[in-house]
Amino acid sequence: GCFVFKPSTKKRRSSEKTAHDFRSRSDDSEDTELRFVTCQSLWNQIKSETEQIQEDLNKQLLDNLLSFLSRSHSEFQEKTTEWTCRMKFREIPTAALVLGVNVTDHDLTFRGLSDVLQDNITPYIALLEAKDCPGIKNLMQKLMGQLMNCDIDVDSLEDEDCVQVSQNRIRCSMSSLISWYESVTKKTDSETPSKKRNSFSRHWQFPPVVVIFKDMESFTTKVLQDFIVISSQHIHEIPLVLIFGIATSPMIIHRLLPHSVSSLLCIELFQSLSCKEHLSTIIDKLLLTSRFPFKLGEKVLQVLINIFLYHDFSVQNFIKGFQLCIVEHFYSQPLSVLCCQLVDVKKRVYSLSHDQCENIRRLPSFRRYVEKQESGKQIELLTNDSFLKEETEKLLEDLHVYHENYVSILRCLHVFTSSLPKYPLGKQVVELHCACLENRVWETEEYESSLQLARMLNKTDLVTMLQQCVEILMSSSGKEFDKTVEKLKEFLTQFQNLEEASQERDVSVSSQKELQKKTDLYHLQKTLLELKESRRSKKMTKFEMLRFEVVDYIDSLVRKYLVPADDRTLHEIVYFNAAAVLRGHLNAAPRTALHTALNNPHWYLKNQALKCDGGGISNKAPDICIVYKLHLECGRLINLVDWLEAFSTVVMAAEEPNADAASSDQVDDIIHARFIRAVSELELLGFIKPSKQKTDHVARLTWGGC
């Protein structure tokens, strides 16, 4: 159980059921069906996209591994009798696969790995997990089970051989594994001419047997050592390859295995892409694109990124969180029906019901928009549904265009900011994106300072940046950039001209330099001072003027296109902004929740009678709450008798204010029983435990009382 994997709260099990769920909550049953369908198709698109991205990212690693595996047992294939091969000790080829601490993501990598291996190298793969292998016996059992099963899968058509392998009576030893391997390879060898060939033609005659240890750190030393020692004795008979999945650092190999064992291995290191790069690629491809209509608001994105950076480094969890956002958005926002591709917008807008139109009118951003219109149009917008629909369509198209432009200009700005010293606006495009979403970026101090820094860039950098910007804008789908591109190109030619001009001037300067060479140190100093002086007083050079112009132009672009989404009308339709909801779902706080439940039962039970004032203990609260509150006042050890006393006082307080004195020193049996039950409930919840230090005392397990 690493980095707990929390399935999102609303995973679709069966489509009808969830579609029903969608309907059940929202009072206006408007378009739930359509919303659900849109949501699903969108998610499927995104899912396939992410899978594609991840495949591409892992490709390099998998290719390296494949080439390692294919050369690892070349000797086994050739059966060389060369002197060096005879003399050398046969080590087990081992790949140490460093995958980073995001253990939740490893599964995907291993799945991809085993698929690729199956296709290219060998059908014999065993994936072992530490929790299945507490001893060498279990390990062998698991290993043989997986290997022999995979064999059955391959030739399931032949029935006679499979029957022999009955799971429980396999002798789990290396020798039976070897005889199995021999029989398997011999069989394929003899059957090569037959039609079975095509399934095996990709593999060699002796495909290696790959054993993958998924979580190297968790294996016990003894099991690993035993297994390695055993298998190294049989490496001549069975071409074994080990793959260690390592989450921390490869040092762990030396920590787990003594030299006598690690000398049996031939370890090569493979490193996967760092999870931060992985995430930034995912964000780049999923969020910074106008392909998907759904967008994340700034706060929500921040929550997701924070969970990633602060807690788990898990890309899978990030994607799950993203999925949750999509589901939540389509579930809670009735107008999300309009969150679709631009092609469908028109049709959907015109089929909106009156209630939905009212929903639109209620949107804060729309209200702001209406207020800015002239009064005649205001009335039209607020009363005439069909006019509203027309307007909505236009606004949505605007929004779409805004997105297209936004992404391109954002990337251009990133080209500039990412090369500035100290990165005032962040190194990665995501940070810039967040800054732009949050508020008007040009009003921030960071933007100001980065502009100032940009005004000090040298020419070559500036030219390359401008070229990059031109490329970005050319490739973007936005239509408005023709002029911008032209302008940028003009800048570039101006720089070019400048260069030529300066070359001419250089000639004259060089003659000056020659003069300087002959002067002595004193004169040199003097001339330098003069030069400096003149430079200070001198007006800006042509280059500097041009540089100012460029930066100003970029600034104007930013002001025009990088308007925060909150300012756009109808942004609520495509932006998911409920960060608090998301935080509640993803960042659970069990201690706090438990404390609230026990300390303030009204919070959950919604019973007016329970509403208590301040620190007082109401006797109407459930017994466990009373006991809990009382125990908060105690130290580390709690005297049960005192506790019971206090409990009965609280309970009796309201019931019978004038209880007769005789019964007060003898606690009522029922109250006693209630107390015992409440205390054992607390014990079950892990707040207290029986103590042996003092009789009749229990120990507190939570802090606060020390």
Partner: protein
């Protein structure tokens, strides 16, 4: 030269045997005299011990195969349960008689074993010969059922057949002896090979293309470098094979002839030293080493396993680990002083007790309860940390990554205690 002599075996075989087991003649002749002639009963059990790669397994195997004595050779490491072990012995017994018919044997207890063993011996007509059962890595027997080891020691008596059990181990007999009286085996020690022995053995297998003298000079250099750190014959042989190509290089290129030892030494010596720091420690693998040699690249390009020490951790995981480290190495009493803003002044004189003067790092990490870890975490992180499920799951994942370890795994509710297992250097790297 102490020639092996025994009236029972042909002289040619003995001569051949002698050539195969250099430097172990005295042990072999000793064994031969214990074994006696084929039909004679031998000692019921023999215990042979000696350091790693002192030739125990090799000598036994060559002795038994060259003289064609009936034997069963089993590695106890490989057959890790008594059932597997016993069954393996029986299978080997059967299969050597008739190769085709290997029916499955079921043998769960020693009682069954003795019965089946008698059958097998009868079927192979071995009554008039001594059968040798060799149990390699016999220390594993101690971990099986208590009756296995004593029974093997007196198998001759139990089965009433002509059988001798040979136990091979790296540890001394005293560590085996069960506390209930058992049959004392005949113990025999295989001493380590001396440097002269190693030289002789390693030089024996010279490559066909080069003369024995040339190779022996190479071995001499190799031993000069590696003898200080490694006396393992297998490992030395492996290293010799790995680096021989480099040694031959000047000869192949025609820059030196085979007798030019000085030149050859100059060429190989730094190379071997580098090998000692990399390949020998398995920092880089031998195949990588060979490729490097082949391409003539510098080993500096390839970073060893220990070079990759950096571990990237999530933000809070880093702080958790640092907090755990602080909790492990600081005494509880100092917490108040270190982590509270308004702590009282502490008189320096009697603050440190005498025994605490020794560095806490020498004493190793101490266990601490979860609450203390969290309290320190809250005080070292600048902004507020909510005790969310994510934080708790991070602690668990640090445990599975072996950066923390759980102490006394009893009840989860019982206030779990942890220990920090990482070093100061690691923490320094993280804290940066």
């Amino acid at each position: 030269m102490p020639n092996l002599e025994h009236p029972a075996y042909p002289a040619a075989d003995l001569l051949h045997l002698e050539s195969l087991v250099p430097c172990r003649e005295s042990q072999v002749s000793m064994l031969l005299s214990i074994f006696g002639e084929r039909q004679q009963f031998s000692f019921p059990s023999i215990f042979i011990y000696g350091h790693t790669s002192s030739g125990k397994t090799y000598v036994m195997q060559t002795l038994l195969t060259t003289l064609q004595l009936p034997h069963v050779f089993v590695n106890c490491m490989e057959y890790f349960t008594s059932r597997l072990l016993l069954e393996e012995i029986l299978i080997q017994l059967q299969s050597s008689s008739d190769t085709e018919q290997t029916c499955a044997v079921h043998c769960d207890t020693l009682n069954d074993f003795v019965r089946l063993f008698k059958q097998a011996v009868a079927s192979r007509e071995l009554q008039d010969q001594t059968l040798y059962i060799v149990l390699d890595r016999a220390e594993q027997l101690r971990e099986m059922e208590a009756n296995i080891l004593p029974a093997f020691l007196r198998l001759q008596e139990l089965t009433d057949r002509n059988v001798t059990v040979v136990l091979l181990s790296e540890i001394v007999w005293e560590l085996f002896r069960p506390n209930v009286g058992c049959f004392e085996p005949f113990t025999m020690y295989f001493p380590d090979y001396s440097i002269g022995h190693l030289q002789k053995i390693l030089s024996q297998n010279h490559p066909p293309e080069y003369s024995a003298d040339f190779y022996s000079a190479y071995i001499n250099i190799l031993l000069g470098v590696f003898y200080m750190v490694c006396r393992d014959l297998k490992e030395l042989q492996h290293l010799a094979a790995l680096n021989f190509a480099k040694y031959c290089e000047p000869v192949v290129r025609g820059e030196a002839n085979e007798r030019d030892t000085r030149k050859l030494w100059k060429n190989i010596e730094p190379h071997l030293k580098k090998a000692m720091q990399t390949v020998y420690l398995r920092e880089i693998s031998s195949s990588q080493w060979e490729r490097l040699q082949h391409d003539g690249g510098e080993p500096g390009q390839l970073k060893g396993l220990s070079a990759h020490t950096h571990v990237e951790l999530p933000y809070y995981s880093k702080f958790l680990l640092i907090a755990a480290y602080l909790a492990s190495y600081n005494p509880v009493r100092t917490d108040k002083r270190f982590f509270l803003k308004h702590h009282g002044k502490i008189r320096k004189t009697n603050f440190m007790k005498k025994h605490e003067k020794t560095s806490n790092h020498l004493l190793g990490p101490k266990p601490f309860p979860l609450d203390r870890l969290l309290a320190i975490l809250y005080s070292i992180v600048d902004n507020r940390v909510a005790p969310t499920a994510n934080i708790f799951s991070q602690i668990t994942s640090l445990v599975t990554l072996q950066l923390l370890s759980m102490v006394g795994q009893n009840d989860q509710l019982d206030g779990p205690r942890y220990k920090c297992t990482v070093s100061l250097d690691f923490i320094r790297a993280i804290a940066r």
